[in-house]
């Protein structure tokens, strides 16, 4: 087991193969649930890249998710070939992240967070108010064939590929020289100058990467759901991945994967069988945060490490 913790690439590859085989074997119900889960994993991972490795806590990550949704939905609706529309979604998100990011990275910590929140709320409001284009609160529906005409299984595999691809991109970036710079700036913003970079530039690059991955997740979500609503750029969609990142464990690469599984799993099960599911979720969130600041991934790691020789 230890090897999995030490060599995330091995673990990741195994997880990928395992997930792919699960998706091939899964029935319709599980296919549906897993597809959604995979999209959330990608979304949470993109936020985790920002928080855990780049030292920026965004309260408005939904903006790029939502713009990914609308970029895709609107272009599909306008008659652009689906294959192109799928590209346009993330592009719109990337573009927005580039602009918002340039403004946000000028600020630190809580002020950064607040500006990302403002950006997301402005995005939400524009989507909500621009009826002629976006359909306002009634959103957009029926703009693309269900599951992009790939069938539920085909679409699920596409989502898995995107999710794994996204995680791989994050991994590669983190291990590349650029990633080292991003990480060291994340740990200590003052250090950028010492490395010969502008702190803002480094943070901006990280912001844009995270934004475009969120855009990919948004596009997939829009295609999966078959709709786009302003909510997708709203507060709830900014908080949900934050909760996942925390539940999974701050500072770890696989945290958001575990976090998304736990969050989606718990809410799914709880809200189905328990009356006060939100209360229980609240208690879980608080307990995990207080007693295991490194989240569920931290717990798993501790258990695995106990079983293996240290050194």
């Amino acid at each position: 087991m230890n090897i999995l913790v030490r060599h995330p690439v091995v673990a990741g590859a195994l997880a990928f193969v395992a997930s792919a085989s699960i998706l091939v074997l899964a029935n319709d119900v599980w296919l549906m649930r897993l597809t959604e889960l995979l999209i959330w994993i990608l979304f949470a991972a993109s936020l985790n890249f920002l928080i855990s490795f780049s030292g920026m806590v965004s309260f408005g990550h939904a903006a790029y998710f939502g713009l990914g949704c609308y970029g895709f939905a609107l272009s599909a609706k306008a008659g652009v070939p689906i294959i192109v529309a799928v590209m346009i979604g993330p592009l719109v998100a990337t573009f927005a992240a580039a602009i918002y990011g340039a403004l946000c990275v000028r600020l630190n910590k809580i002020y950064f967070a607040m500006l990302t929140l403002a950006c997301a709320e402005i995005t939400y409001s524009v989507i909500h108010q621009w009826y002629d284009l976006t359909g306002g609160d009634t959103g957009l529906t029926q703009f693309a064939p269900p599951s992009l005409d790939l069938g539920a299984r085909g679409f699920a595999l596409l989502v898995l590929a995107c999710c794994a691809g996204g995680l791989l991109v994050i991994r590669l970036v983190l291990n590349a020289p650029l990633g080292l710079v991003i990480r060291s700036v994340g740990e200590n913003p003052g250090r950028a100058a010492a490395l010969g970079f502008s702190q803002r530039q480094v943070q901006w690059v990280a912001f844009v990467i995270a934004g475009s991955l969120a855009g990919v997740a948004g596009t997939l979500y829009s295609a999966f759901q078959g709709n786009a609503f302003p909510d997708y750029a709203g507060m709830r969609f900014s908080l949900a991945p934050l909760v996942m990142v925390i539940l999974g464990g701050l500072g770890s690469f696989f945290g958001p994967v575990i976090g998304a599984i736990v969050e989606k799993g718990l809410t799914g099960v709880l809200s189905h069988y328990v009356v006060f599911w939100e209360l229980i979720m609240g208690v879980v969130v608080i307990t995990v945060t207080v007693y295991s600041p490194h989240g569920f991934w931290g717990l798993i790691k501790r258990v695995i490490n106990k079983g293996a020789p240290r050194g």
């Binding site: 529906t141 759901q225 909510d231």
Partner: protein, 403 residues
């Protein structure tokens, strides 16, 4: 009462054992409703009545020789949750037919799922016309008047009020008020060119403080303020309107569903013009009396409009299923259109073109009566769907526009 609602939500496929034996699998109705969240109270009444309808249907032998079962899921008043729950309802629960949405966004999200999975969704609360008319979705039955019809019906009524010459409007800034006010204005200008629309204000969705809107509305000395909002926004508007002397200085014409009247009680002044969709107190028939009695017995409360519409449309659907002898959406739509249905709201026929019911709108004036603990709408005028349904030409035009 809420607690019970929760229990009801959680209980899976709860319906009374009627003693009758059923041959095949039950017909499963997936109730994907906004049980928690902003629409909660409306869905609450709707679900209770739907349960009563299901019990009655089963007591009289079920449908197509099969028992009817209800399986409830909570869409939390979110479109994304609604999409997910509607899918699970069809795929996991194997629902044959869907119902329950309330807000426009949830309704549209559910409608798309229904179309994707080729199951019929019938809607008895939400009023957006987009699914049926704009998108031509053949899997959605709109059993209450849509916002276009409602807007026109209100204009028809307003046109008869000779003293209403200057009208100010207030609507929360989202789909339903936008459409309703737009239609109202358009239609009233046709009917009464002398009517002048003065100020219109658009508080954002979720606004709770109308203190800065009411004086602006009153500033142009309108004869009537036309307000389109629901739920807590409605009650806030009325309560705060009182403190600003709105009711002394102008007439108010607003959505006054039974739920709102019950919630406001004597906080709503007399003499407010209000409209509603299916008031239990405004329709006198033996069927209504027996339903109200049944509802009161079960829930110690009068049924809301959403309850009446829920029960009525469920019964209409049952009739259509019997007639079609099938659960196939296309056949059900044919049967709905062919059926001569007379229910709690009287005769409600269905147009096949857009699967819209010719549902009525009721308009009256609030008044305290000894019979109820809350004011009701009196001097009710019923405007039938036939008078205000968009013509086929209009439907074609709107469909072309939406493309």
């Amino acid at each position: 009462m809420k607690y019970r609602m929760y229990v009801a939500t959680v209980a899976i496929g709860l319906s009374l054992v009627t003693g009758a034996s059923f041959a095949a699998d039950p017909i499963l109705i997936g109730y994907v409703g906004d049980l928690s969240g902003a629409c909660g109270p409306y869905n609450d009444g709707n679900l209770k009545a739907t349960r009563i309808a299901v019990d009655e249907i089963n007591a009289s032998g079920g449908l197509l020789g099969r028992k009817v079962e209800l399986k409830v899921r909570d869409s939390k008043t979110n479109p994304e949750e609604a999409t997910k729950q509607a899918r699970e309802s069809i795929v996991v629960d194997k629902a044959d037919i869907l119902t329950g949405p309330c807000t426009s966004s949830v309704l549209l999200a559910d409608a798309a799922v229904a179309q994707e999975h080729k199951k019929l969704l019938w809607n008895s609360i939400g009023t957006t016309h987009r699914a049926n008319i704009d998108f031509g979705n053949r899997y959605v039955y709109q059993s209450v008047a849509n916002s276009l019809m409602e807007g026109r019906a209100l204009a028809e009524y307003a046109a008869t009020q000779k003293s209403w010459k200057r009208i100010a409007t207030i609507g929360l800034d989202y789909e339903w008020p936008r459409q309703t006010i737009e239609m109202f204005k358009q239609h009233l200008k046709e009917l009464r060119p002398d009517v002048q629309f003065v100020n219109s204000v658009w508080p954002k969705l979720g606004e709770s403080n109308f203190g800065s809107y009411i004086p602006v509305l009153l500033n142009d000395k309108p004869d009537v303020v036309f307000g389109v909002m629901f739920g807590s926004a409605s009650s806030n508007f009325i309560r705060q309107g009182k403190t600003y002397g709105m009711f002394e200085r102008t007439k108010v014409f607003t959505y006054a569903s039974t739920y709102l009247l019950k919630a406001l009680g004597n906080d709503i002044p007399e003499g407010v013009y209000g409209w509603t969709r299916s008031p239990f107190y405004g329709i006198k028939s033996p069927a209504m009396d027996s339903f109200v009695a049944k509802f009161k017995e079960a829930h110690k409360d009068f049924p809301d409009d959403e309850s009446i519409a829920g029960y009525d449309s469920m019964m209409q659907m049952a009739g259509a299923i019997k007639l079609a002898k099938s659960l196939d959406p296309a056949k059900l739509v044919d049967a709905l259109a062919a059926q001569e249905y007379v229910g709690l709201r009287g005769k409600v026929s269905v147009r096949k073109l857009d699967i819209n019911a010719y549902a009525p709108t009721f308009i009256g004036v609030t008044k305290k009566t000894p019979a109820y603990s809350f004011p009701i709408l009196t001097d009710l005028v019923r405007i039938d769907g036939e008078r205000v349904m968009p013509s086929e030409v209009e439907v074609a035009r709107m469909r072309a526009l939406a493309k």
